[in-house]
Protein backbone atom coordinates (compact mmCIF):
# COMPACT_ATOMS: atom_id res chain seq x y z
CA UNK A 1 0.00 0.00 0.00
CA UNK A 2 2.91 2.30 -0.53
CA UNK A 3 1.23 3.90 -3.51
CA UNK A 4 -1.48 4.98 -1.17
CA UNK A 5 0.93 6.69 1.13
CA UNK A 6 2.80 8.24 -1.70
CA UNK A 7 -0.41 9.69 -3.04
CA UNK A 8 -1.35 10.99 0.34
CA UNK A 9 2.04 12.60 0.83
CA UNK A 10 1.80 14.14 -2.60
CA UNK A 11 -1.63 15.60 -1.98
CA UNK A 12 -0.79 16.81 1.48
CA UNK A 13 2.40 18.41 0.32
CA UNK A 14 0.50 20.17 -2.43
CA UNK A 15 -2.19 21.29 -0.04
CA UNK A 16 0.20 22.66 2.50
CA UNK A 17 2.54 24.30 0.05
CA UNK A 18 -0.17 25.90 -1.99
CA UNK A 19 -2.09 26.92 1.09
CA UNK A 20 0.92 28.77 2.36
CA UNK A 21 1.46 30.30 -1.03
CA UNK A 22 -2.17 31.34 -1.14
CA UNK A 23 -1.91 33.27 2.04
CA UNK A 24 1.49 34.75 1.38
CA UNK A 25 1.56 35.50 -2.35
CA UNK A 26 1.93 39.16 -3.16
CA UNK A 27 -0.05 38.94 -6.33
CA UNK A 28 -3.75 38.40 -5.89
CA UNK A 29 -4.45 36.51 -9.09
CA UNK A 30 -1.68 34.09 -8.30
CA UNK A 31 -3.16 33.58 -4.88
CA UNK A 32 -6.43 32.66 -6.51
CA UNK A 33 -4.70 30.15 -8.71
CA UNK A 34 -2.85 28.63 -5.75
CA UNK A 35 -6.19 28.33 -4.02
CA UNK A 36 -7.45 26.45 -7.02
CA UNK A 37 -4.57 23.99 -6.67
CA UNK A 38 -5.35 23.52 -3.03
CA UNK A 39 -8.97 22.79 -3.79
CA UNK A 40 -8.10 20.34 -6.49
CA UNK A 41 -5.65 18.55 -4.21
CA UNK A 42 -8.32 18.38 -1.57
CA UNK A 43 -10.66 16.70 -3.97
CA UNK A 44 -7.89 14.21 -4.53
CA UNK A 45 -7.96 13.44 -0.85
CA UNK A 46 -11.67 12.91 -1.10
CA UNK A 47 -11.11 10.38 -3.81
CA UNK A 48 -8.63 8.67 -1.56
CA UNK A 49 -11.23 8.53 1.17
CA UNK A 50 -13.62 6.97 -1.28
CA UNK A 51 -16.07 9.86 -1.48
CA UNK A 52 -16.16 10.15 -5.20
CA UNK A 53 -19.34 12.18 -5.31
CA UNK A 54 -18.06 14.71 -2.92
CA UNK A 55 -14.79 14.93 -4.75
CA UNK A 56 -16.70 15.67 -7.87
CA UNK A 57 -18.76 18.30 -6.15
CA UNK A 58 -15.61 19.81 -4.76
CA UNK A 59 -14.10 20.04 -8.20
CA UNK A 60 -17.13 21.46 -9.91
CA UNK A 61 -18.41 23.74 -7.18
CA UNK A 62 -15.22 24.96 -5.67
CA UNK A 63 -12.74 24.78 -8.47
CA UNK A 64 -15.28 25.51 -11.11
CA UNK A 65 -17.62 27.85 -9.29
CA UNK A 66 -16.19 29.67 -6.40
CA UNK A 67 -12.70 30.17 -7.73
CA UNK A 68 -14.11 31.57 -10.91
CA UNK A 69 -16.30 33.84 -8.88
CA UNK A 70 -13.30 34.98 -6.93
CA UNK A 71 -11.28 35.60 -10.02
CA UNK A 72 -14.09 37.63 -11.51
CA UNK A 73 -14.31 39.74 -8.46
CA UNK A 74 -10.58 40.21 -8.48
CA UNK A 75 -10.82 41.42 -12.00
CA UNK A 76 -13.57 43.80 -11.02
CA UNK A 77 -11.83 45.27 -8.04
CA UNK A 78 -8.09 45.04 -8.48
CA UNK A 79 -5.31 45.66 -10.87
CA UNK A 80 -3.90 42.28 -11.67
CA UNK A 81 -0.32 43.31 -11.75
CA UNK A 82 -0.65 45.17 -8.51
CA UNK A 83 1.56 44.02 -5.69
CA UNK A 84 0.21 44.16 -2.22
CA UNK A 85 2.16 46.19 0.17
CA UNK A 86 2.98 43.59 2.74
CA UNK A 87 1.33 44.01 6.07
CA UNK A 88 3.51 45.09 8.96
CA UNK A 89 6.05 42.53 10.21
CA UNK A 90 4.67 42.87 13.71
CA UNK A 91 1.28 41.79 12.57
CA UNK A 92 2.73 38.97 10.55
CA UNK A 93 4.81 37.65 13.40
CA UNK A 94 2.03 37.95 15.86
CA UNK A 95 -0.40 36.17 13.57
CA UNK A 96 2.17 33.51 12.85
CA UNK A 97 2.72 32.93 16.55
CA UNK A 98 -1.02 32.69 17.12
CA UNK A 99 -1.47 30.30 14.22
CA UNK A 100 1.50 28.18 15.20
CA UNK A 101 0.43 28.00 18.82
CA UNK A 102 -3.00 26.95 17.72
CA UNK A 103 -1.65 24.40 15.31
CA UNK A 104 0.75 22.92 17.84
CA UNK A 105 -1.96 22.78 20.44
CA UNK A 106 -4.33 21.06 18.04
CA UNK A 107 -1.69 18.60 16.82
CA UNK A 108 -0.66 17.69 20.35
CA UNK A 109 -4.26 17.10 21.20
CA UNK A 110 -4.75 14.94 18.13
CA UNK A 111 -1.70 12.91 18.85
CA UNK A 112 -2.56 12.42 22.47
CA UNK A 113 -6.03 11.26 21.73
CA UNK A 114 -6.08 7.61 20.81
CA UNK A 115 -8.48 7.18 17.94
CA UNK A 116 -9.74 3.72 17.55
CA UNK A 117 -10.68 3.00 13.99
CA UNK A 118 -14.05 1.40 13.57
CA UNK A 119 -14.11 -2.19 12.46
CA UNK A 120 -17.52 -2.06 10.90
CA UNK A 121 -17.82 -2.55 7.23
CA UNK A 122 -17.68 0.59 5.24
CA UNK A 123 -20.80 1.57 3.49
CA UNK A 124 -20.59 1.91 -0.20
CA UNK A 125 -21.42 5.49 -1.03
CA UNK A 126 -23.04 5.51 -4.35
CA UNK A 127 -25.20 8.17 -5.95
CA UNK A 128 -28.41 6.26 -5.43
CA UNK A 129 -27.84 6.11 -1.70
CA UNK A 130 -26.95 9.76 -1.51
CA UNK A 131 -30.03 10.76 -3.45
CA UNK A 132 -32.30 8.58 -1.36
CA UNK A 133 -30.87 9.73 1.93
CA UNK A 134 -31.11 13.35 0.96
CA UNK A 135 -34.80 13.12 0.25
CA UNK A 136 -35.70 10.56 2.86
CA UNK A 137 -37.82 11.45 5.84
CA UNK A 138 -36.76 8.31 7.69
CA UNK A 139 -34.47 8.07 10.63
CA UNK A 140 -31.43 8.33 8.44
CA UNK A 141 -32.96 10.88 6.15
CA UNK A 142 -31.59 14.35 5.49
CA UNK A 143 -34.59 16.05 4.04
CA UNK A 144 -34.70 18.76 6.66
CA UNK A 145 -31.13 20.01 6.24
CA UNK A 146 -31.66 19.66 2.54
CA UNK A 147 -34.63 21.97 2.62
CA UNK A 148 -32.84 24.35 4.92
CA UNK A 149 -29.88 24.53 2.65
CA UNK A 150 -32.17 25.10 -0.31
CA UNK A 151 -33.74 28.04 1.38
CA UNK A 152 -30.34 29.30 2.41
CA UNK A 153 -29.14 29.15 -1.14
CA UNK A 154 -32.20 30.95 -2.35
CA UNK A 155 -31.78 33.59 0.29
CA UNK A 156 -28.09 33.93 -0.56
CA UNK A 157 -28.96 34.31 -4.21
CA UNK A 158 -31.50 36.99 -3.53
CA UNK A 159 -29.16 38.68 -1.10
CA UNK A 160 -26.29 38.65 -3.52
CA UNK A 161 -28.45 40.24 -6.16
CA UNK A 162 -29.91 42.82 -3.85
CA UNK A 163 -26.58 43.76 -2.34
CA UNK A 164 -24.74 43.98 -5.57
CA UNK A 165 -27.53 45.78 -7.38
CA UNK A 166 -26.30 49.15 -8.37
CA UNK A 167 -27.71 52.35 -6.99
CA UNK A 168 -30.13 50.96 -4.46
CA UNK A 169 -28.59 52.16 -1.20
CA UNK A 170 -27.93 55.71 -2.38
CA UNK A 171 -29.86 57.11 0.52
CA UNK A 172 -27.31 56.31 3.12
CA UNK A 173 -24.64 58.92 2.79
CA UNK A 174 -21.60 58.11 4.79
CA UNK A 175 -19.29 60.97 5.62
CA UNK A 176 -16.28 59.40 3.95
CA UNK A 177 -18.10 59.14 0.65
CA UNK A 178 -17.65 62.76 -0.20
CA UNK A 179 -14.51 62.24 -2.21
CA UNK A 180 -16.23 59.81 -4.51
Amino acid sequence: MVSNQIMFILFSAMIIVFSILTVTSRKILRAAVYLLFVLVSTSGLYFMLNYQFLAAVQLTLYAGGIVVLIIFSILLTSHISQNFESSGWKKNIFSAIAALTGAILAIITILEYGFTASTEAAQLVDMRLIGKSLLSVDYDGYVLPFEVISILLLAAMVAAIVIAKKGAPKKIVLPKLNQE
Partner: protein, 105 residues
Protein backbone atom coordinates in the same frame (compact mmCIF):
# COMPACT_ATOMS: atom_id res chain seq x y z
CA UNK B 1 -7.68 2.75 -0.43
CA UNK B 2 -6.67 4.50 2.70
CA UNK B 3 -5.08 1.65 4.52
CA UNK B 4 -1.69 2.43 5.98
CA UNK B 5 -2.56 6.06 6.54
CA UNK B 6 -3.62 6.71 10.13
CA UNK B 7 -6.44 9.10 10.77
CA UNK B 8 -4.04 11.39 12.60
CA UNK B 9 -2.34 12.25 9.35
CA UNK B 10 -5.54 13.58 7.92
CA UNK B 11 -6.26 15.49 11.05
CA UNK B 12 -2.82 17.02 11.21
CA UNK B 13 -3.05 17.99 7.58
CA UNK B 14 -6.43 19.61 8.20
CA UNK B 15 -5.01 21.40 11.22
CA UNK B 16 -2.10 22.80 9.28
CA UNK B 17 -4.45 23.91 6.52
CA UNK B 18 -6.78 25.44 9.02
CA UNK B 19 -4.12 27.48 10.70
CA UNK B 20 -2.64 28.52 7.41
CA UNK B 21 -6.08 29.86 6.67
CA UNK B 22 -6.16 31.60 10.03
CA UNK B 23 -2.77 33.11 9.38
CA UNK B 24 -4.03 34.39 6.07
CA UNK B 25 -7.15 35.73 7.63
CA UNK B 26 -5.13 37.68 10.13
CA UNK B 27 -2.50 39.05 7.83
CA UNK B 28 -4.06 39.71 4.47
CA UNK B 29 -5.46 43.10 3.77
CA UNK B 30 -7.39 42.47 0.65
CA UNK B 31 -10.93 41.37 1.34
CA UNK B 32 -10.84 38.83 -1.47
CA UNK B 33 -7.76 37.15 -0.13
CA UNK B 34 -9.39 37.07 3.25
CA UNK B 35 -12.26 35.30 1.60
CA UNK B 36 -9.82 32.83 0.16
CA UNK B 37 -8.41 32.16 3.61
CA UNK B 38 -11.88 31.44 4.77
CA UNK B 39 -12.26 28.95 1.97
CA UNK B 40 -9.11 27.24 3.17
CA UNK B 41 -10.51 26.99 6.64
CA UNK B 42 -13.75 25.55 5.37
CA UNK B 43 -11.93 22.99 3.35
CA UNK B 44 -9.83 21.87 6.25
CA UNK B 45 -12.98 21.31 8.18
CA UNK B 46 -14.38 19.25 5.37
CA UNK B 47 -11.34 17.06 5.39
CA UNK B 48 -11.82 16.49 9.09
CA UNK B 49 -15.43 15.53 8.68
CA UNK B 50 -14.70 13.09 5.96
CA UNK B 51 -11.77 11.54 7.78
CA UNK B 52 -13.83 11.06 10.90
CA UNK B 53 -16.65 9.62 8.96
CA UNK B 54 -14.49 7.21 7.10
CA UNK B 55 -12.32 6.05 9.96
CA UNK B 56 -14.63 6.12 12.95
CA UNK B 57 -18.16 5.63 11.58
CA UNK B 58 -17.76 4.08 8.17
CA UNK B 59 -21.34 2.77 8.12
CA UNK B 60 -22.82 6.25 8.47
CA UNK B 61 -23.12 9.20 6.14
CA UNK B 62 -23.29 12.20 8.51
CA UNK B 63 -19.80 13.44 7.84
CA UNK B 64 -20.26 13.30 4.17
CA UNK B 65 -23.53 15.10 4.20
CA UNK B 66 -22.15 17.69 6.51
CA UNK B 67 -19.32 18.32 4.12
CA UNK B 68 -21.81 18.54 1.31
CA UNK B 69 -23.80 21.12 3.12
CA UNK B 70 -20.69 23.00 4.05
CA UNK B 71 -19.75 23.22 0.45
CA UNK B 72 -23.23 24.51 -0.33
CA UNK B 73 -23.01 27.05 2.45
CA UNK B 74 -19.55 28.02 1.32
CA UNK B 75 -20.89 28.62 -2.13
CA UNK B 76 -23.68 30.77 -0.82
CA UNK B 77 -21.28 32.57 1.43
CA UNK B 78 -18.86 33.20 -1.35
CA UNK B 79 -21.62 34.59 -3.53
CA UNK B 80 -22.90 36.94 -0.86
CA UNK B 81 -19.42 37.89 0.26
CA UNK B 82 -18.36 38.76 -3.20
CA UNK B 83 -21.51 40.77 -3.71
CA UNK B 84 -20.67 42.66 -0.56
CA UNK B 85 -17.08 43.11 -1.57
CA UNK B 86 -18.08 44.54 -4.89
CA UNK B 87 -20.47 46.85 -3.19
CA UNK B 88 -17.83 47.96 -0.74
CA UNK B 89 -15.48 48.58 -3.59
CA UNK B 90 -18.08 50.76 -5.25
CA UNK B 91 -18.54 52.75 -2.14
CA UNK B 92 -15.08 53.08 -0.75
CA UNK B 93 -13.08 52.55 -3.91
CA UNK B 94 -10.99 50.09 -1.99
CA UNK B 95 -11.27 46.63 -0.61
CA UNK B 96 -8.52 47.04 1.89
CA UNK B 97 -9.93 45.70 5.10
CA UNK B 98 -8.13 48.26 7.23
CA UNK B 99 -9.79 51.10 5.44
CA UNK B 100 -13.23 49.62 5.65
CA UNK B 101 -13.89 50.34 9.29
CA UNK B 102 -17.06 52.36 9.29
CA UNK B 103 -18.70 49.98 11.71
CA UNK B 104 -17.08 51.17 14.84
CA UNK B 105 -18.15 53.11 17.92
Amino acid sequence: MNSGIPIQYFLILATLMFFTGVYGFLTRRNLITILMSVELILNSVNINFLAFNRYLYPHKLEGMFFSLFIIAVAAAEAAVAIAIIINIYRRFATINVEEVNEMKY
